[in-house]
């Protein structure tokens, strides 16, 4: 069994889905001959033909709208947006149609589509290539939002997303596309779309994060360990709906929680998690819930992008703040 990267996990899952279900169709800009600008669809058109892996004209509204149409008529479109910034024109069809089709028709029509795209910063890309818009999608009713942070979760969650009978947004943290290699068996086993993954057990503080920030969060946990502080690390993975039980259970044990997100702070997914802690989780808290987030600014062009994103230092700073309280 070969060790593969996160993006190879994506490719593997796409190939298996195309293989196992003839209704699955991959579409997007440059996904065919070129195999995607990140190579996520590399080799797929060659293997499955250009009626299963389809290069589209440059038109995101069209990709979204046609995916909705295809999904209602018996196909399972897996559309790619080339970068996070270019999903904005797709929001109309996601919000107004994909997430509403089943409800609108009392179950007569449904919309089993996936929209996948690379998200987040840190690869020195141009403007609009480095945003983290997950909160926008997570606020949309009728749509699941998923973000893997490891090769095996990339594989298992994407399979689940494609097999799901309802629309799923699948965001790929491109900064860690090739960060780690992991043995991933291509056994077709999917992972559940409604649970968090506890990546590291701990007793003093709960660090909650997702996507590429898992990297800095684990690094912060390592450094904390050296100081004798035991941090639990949770990868939320599915951002809508969120498995708050796992998070609250952890905070029940640690009494402290820091949430780390790359996206801007205001009305982000971290806010939702903290809000739940302020509600049902409140009696477990021994300290304020801190959020370490991107700033409420535009993601800077690449020379300053890492200054924008939560660093290990900023995570440690927040952990110190919540530990000082006792």
């Amino acid at each position: 069994m070969a060790k593969i990267t996160l993006i190879e996990g994506v490719t593997l899952a796409l190939a298996r889905a195309l293989e196992e279900d003839s209704r699955v169709v991959v579409l997007g800009e440059d996904v065919g001959v070129n195999g995607g600008v990140f190579r996520a669809t590399a080799g797929l058109q060659q293997r499955f033909g250009d009626e299963r892996v389809i290069d589209t004209p440059l038109a995101e509204v069209m990709i979204a709208g046609m995916s909705v149409g295809m999904a209602t008529q018996g196909l399972k479109p897996v559309a790619e947006a080339q970068f996070c910034g270019f999903t904005m024109p797709m929001i109309d069809h996601l919000m107004c149609h994909a997430g509403r089709m089943r409800n609108r028709t009392r179950g007569r029509l449904s919309c089993p589509m996936v929209l996948r795209f690379p998200t987040g910063g840190g690869i020195h890309a141009p403007e609009h290539h480095s945003e983290s818009p997950e909160a926008l999608f997570a606020h949309m009713p009728g749509i699941r939002v998923v973000m893997p942070s490891s090769p095996s979760r990339a594989y298992g969650l994407l399979l689940a997303a494609i097999r799901d009978p309802d629309p799923v947004i699948y965001m790929e943290p491109k900064r860690i596309y090739r960060w780690q290699r992991e043995e991933v068996e291509d056994d077709g086993e999917e992972l559940p779309l409604d649970v968090c993954f506890t990546l590291r057990d701990g007793t003093d503080v709960t660090l909650v994060t997702w996507g590429a920030m898992v990297k800095e969060t684990l690094q912060a946990a390592d450094q904390l360990e050296q100081k004798g502080i035991s941090a639990e690390v949770i990868d939320v993975a599915t951002l809508s709906p969120i498995d708050m039980d796992t998070i609250i259970e952890s905070v029940e044990r640690t009494g402290r929680c820091v949430i780390i997100q790359e996206a801007p702070k205001h009305c982000g997914v971290a806010s939702e998690i903290a809000a739940n802690l302020a509600d049902t989780g409140i009696w477990n808290l021994h300290a304020p819930v801190k959020r370490v987030c991107g700033y409420d600014t535009v993601m800077p062009l690449y020379r300053n992008e890492m200054k924008y994103m939560p660093s290990v230092a900023r995570i440690l700073h927040a952990v110190n703040q919540v530990l000082e309280v006792s």
Partner: protein, 366 residues
Amino acid sequence: MARTVAAFKVDHFQFLGQDGKLLDEQHVPAVARDFDRLTDLYRLMTLTRSFDKKAVALQRTGKLGTYASSLGHEAAHVSIGAAMREEDCLAPMYREYGAQFYRGVKMSEVLLYWGGDERGNDFSSPRHDFAWCVPIATQCLHAAGAAMAYKLKNEARVAVSIVGDGGSSKGDFLEAINAASAWKLPLVLVIVNNQWAISVPRSKQNTASTLAQKGIAGGLPSIQVDGNDLIACLWAMEKAVSAARAGKGAFVIEMLTYRLSDHTTADDARRYRPQEEVDEAWEKEPLKRLRAYLMDQGAWDEQREQELLAECSQFVQQAADEYIDIVQNDAQPVTAIFDYMYEELPHDLVEQRAYAEKFPEDGGHH
């Protein structure tokens, strides 16, 4: 040095004059002689108009929400339904009842929808048609997606979408034209140009001489027809649908008609358009014209007309009663807000659903 690399034209088709006479006896499509079919369609046009009147009346008496009338569009709408096969797919906007009735959507379903009940969209038939679509022109891309699905699955099915003169300005419609062109989709894009987009006249959407020519952007065959002439509408639709079915790609048809009513029951058109314009449009309306033709040809008479009107009013009354019965005696419970969101309800909605059930009185007091 200049050379012409592409040339195009838009033709306008009309067969039936305003007076119910054929404009050119020699050159008419076969359907102009198929009186059985034409009377059937005439009956449906009349029924649609009766329905419309009833729906407006229900709204005026507080029994229905905002309603978008189809008054004046009957030839255009019915022709669309009539040209399609059951297995084809319609992506309507919101007022094309004539097309939907032909296809099997029930009147009580239309009323349920405008009556604020999602069950209206659960068409008894055809099950695969798109629901009414409020975000203007988005349905064009859904139809393009449906056409793509049929093409990929090798099914000889055609998708038809309808958009208004207003909606033809929107990127969704224009991207659908491009998509149809890129993949040679079995798609028919119908522009029902009724001269108004709420208060904005056709002339303000753009200064092009036709809307049909938008199809030229994708190199699609693009024609204009008199949208009050059932024969022209049907001829054009059948031509387009069969070309699409035969794998020849997409078609754009602009049907020129007129919105004889307010935009919806929430609108008051007197605020922005002169009564003379409306009066003039009444002269061209589609029922009168077809009736005159059929009578002229001996295929219709005053007695059948009276019988039909009586039948229609009975039929729409039945639909209204059915609707009232459902909303009064079989209202959707609060849990219906949750139960169709996903195939399987996620844990957060399971909780919210249980919570909602604690407030049975909610909504009642408003």
